[in-house]
């Protein structure tokens, strides 16, 4: 019974991972671009990025999910999977924007000044000097966001996408063992989150700059 339940739910793991692999990088890309605009752009651009992040962090994910699926997909053909993944990505971009903005700011304006004094353009300075430092700083808080997105991916279940939670519900309806099904789902999530965090810890250790902690 346990094995059957676990096996059935495990088939949804691929979908969960797929949703996360769309939402997380998408949120990262949008968040990164907007964070750079926010920190190094003009006042207007920075204000616009601020409004974007406030709105996206304020909207309940489910609301955006339904807007994208039921309203937007009227004009563009959007499958439940894509509607769900994209809306989670958009929501996550609001959070990632804030995380990355903090990291960029903590690198400090003097590093930018030193790069400009060498003759680098603003873009070159961001690319070669600021980002490599900011992305190192951001890893621990980004690991947090990765866990959140991974678990929030269960929300696509509202659109009928057969991910972990949806399948747990299906099987508990036929076995009448909701506790078993949900526990199995929880274990799978735990393993996924644990593995993600372990991976990011290793990455953090790998790109660590020797002596940097001492100099701060």
């Amino acid at each position: 019974m346990l094995l059957k339940t676990l096996g059935y739910i495990l088939q949804g793991t691929g979908v969960t991972i797929a949703v996360t692999l769309v939402a997380l990088p998408m949120g990262f890309l949008i968040g990164l671009i907007l964070s750079i605009v926010s920190v190094y752009g003009g006042k207007a651009a920075s204000a616009a990025a601020g409004i974007y992040s406030t709105v996206m962090r304020g909207v309940p994910p489910l609301v955006l999910l339904f807007i994208l699926y039921f309203i937007i997909s009227g004009s563009i053909n959007l499958s439940p999977f894509w509607a769900g993944s994209l809306s989670l990505g958009i929501i996550s971009s609001g959070y990632q924007l804030e995380i990355l903005r903090g990291a960029l700011q903590s690198v400090g304006s003097s590093q930018m000044m030193a790069a400009r004094a060498l003759g680098m353009t603003r873009i070159e300075a961001i690319r070669y000097i600021i980002l490599p430092q900011a992305l190192r700083i951001v890893i621990p808080s980004w690991a947090n966001e990765a866990s959140v997105v991974l678990k929030d991916s269960s929300l696509v279940y509202a659109l009928g996408v057969p991910e972990i939670i949806r399948r747990a519900q299906y099987i508990s309806a036929s076995t009448y063992e909701p506790f078993l099904a949900l526990s199995a789902a929880a274990i799978i999530y735990f393993v996924l989150v644990f593995a993600t965090n372990r991976f990011l810890d290793l990455l953090e250790a790998r790109v660590r700059v020797p002596g940097l902690e001492l100099s701060r």
Binding site: Q111, M113, A117, P210
Partner: protein, 260 residues
């Protein structure tokens, strides 16, 4: 820039002023720096010495007046700031090495990302510059693994690697422990001997007296007095200059004896 016929005059500052809201930081500053000159700017804190350096390499915009580098007006509208800065080396009080890069990579950064030299050529040049400041054996160390004095020497090498027309030093030893000041001043002294054109803001009077061929005493955004170190140290015209030099020699005198 180097294609132009060799002119003795490298930097010319004409009637430069800098104003923040309604307060003048610099007033009507005029100064000429010739090839091989070592100009030392001295004066109390907050008199605009650092601001003047920042105006020269365009990190700060002047409010009035003009600055010429090799007869080109760099304060003119439409001048490519990034191109101008490539020819002006800047050394900061807090070193400002790039924290995520080794000493060698720091020196390389301008060569590869700004000058776009081929990798091999860039590395040779960078190693040569590290050698010049006596740090070849620290090439693979990160800033966090270097002492303040070593970091500042790497910062000097990083600026030198660009083959600047002029080097600006903004209180290069002020953030250093006393026993580390000497090694940085030594590198600067060597540069001066090699004929590098330099402008130095410092409180190290020993260095000023020994190396500067022109000393500029500034106060409240104005040049109070300028002349050779002989003139300023031994025959100051202004009472303020005399008073300042007397105070600062008393304050730094002891340290100086150990260092120079």
């Amino acid at each position: 820039m180097k294609d132009k016929p060799v002119k003795n005059k490298i930097l010319e500052i004409k009637n430069v002023s800098k104003k923040y809201t309604d307060q003048f930081v610099l007033r009507d500053i005029s100064l000429t720096v010739n090839e091989g000159d070592n100009v030392v700017l001295i004066g109390p804190s907050g008199t605009g010495k650092s601001t003047l350096l920042r105006c020269i390499n365009l990190l700060t915009r002047v409010s009035g007046g003009q600055i010429f580098l090799d007869d080109e007006e760099i304060t003119a509208k439409g001048v490519n700031e990034d191109r101008v800065r490539q020819h002006i080396g800047m050394v900061f009080q807090n070193f400002l090495l790039f924290n995520h890069l080794t000493a060698l990579q720091n020196v390389l950064s301008g060569l590869t990302h700004v000058k776009h030299l081929p990798a091999k050529q860039a590395k040779e040049k960078a190693l040569m510059e590290l050698e010049r400041v006596g740090l070849s054996d620290r090439a693979d160390h990160y800033p966090g693994q270097l002492s303040g004095g070593q970091q500042q020497r790497v910062a000097i090498a990083r600026a030198l690697a660009m083959d600047p027309r002029i080097m600006l030093f903004d209180e290069p030893t002020s953030a250093l422990d006393p026993e580390l000041i000497g090694e940085v001043l030594e590198v600067m002294r060597k540069l001066a001997e090699e004929g590098m054109t330099m402008m130095v803001v410092t409180h190290e009077m020993g260095f000023a007296r020994e190396v500067a061929n022109q000393i500029v005493f500034m106060e409240k955004g104005l040049i109070v007095e300028q002349g050779t170190s002989q003139d300023l140290f031994y025959h100051p015209k202004s009472d303020r200059t005399r008073e300042f030099l007397w105070k600062i020699t008393e304050l730094y005198g002891k340290k100086e004896e150990n260092v120079t």
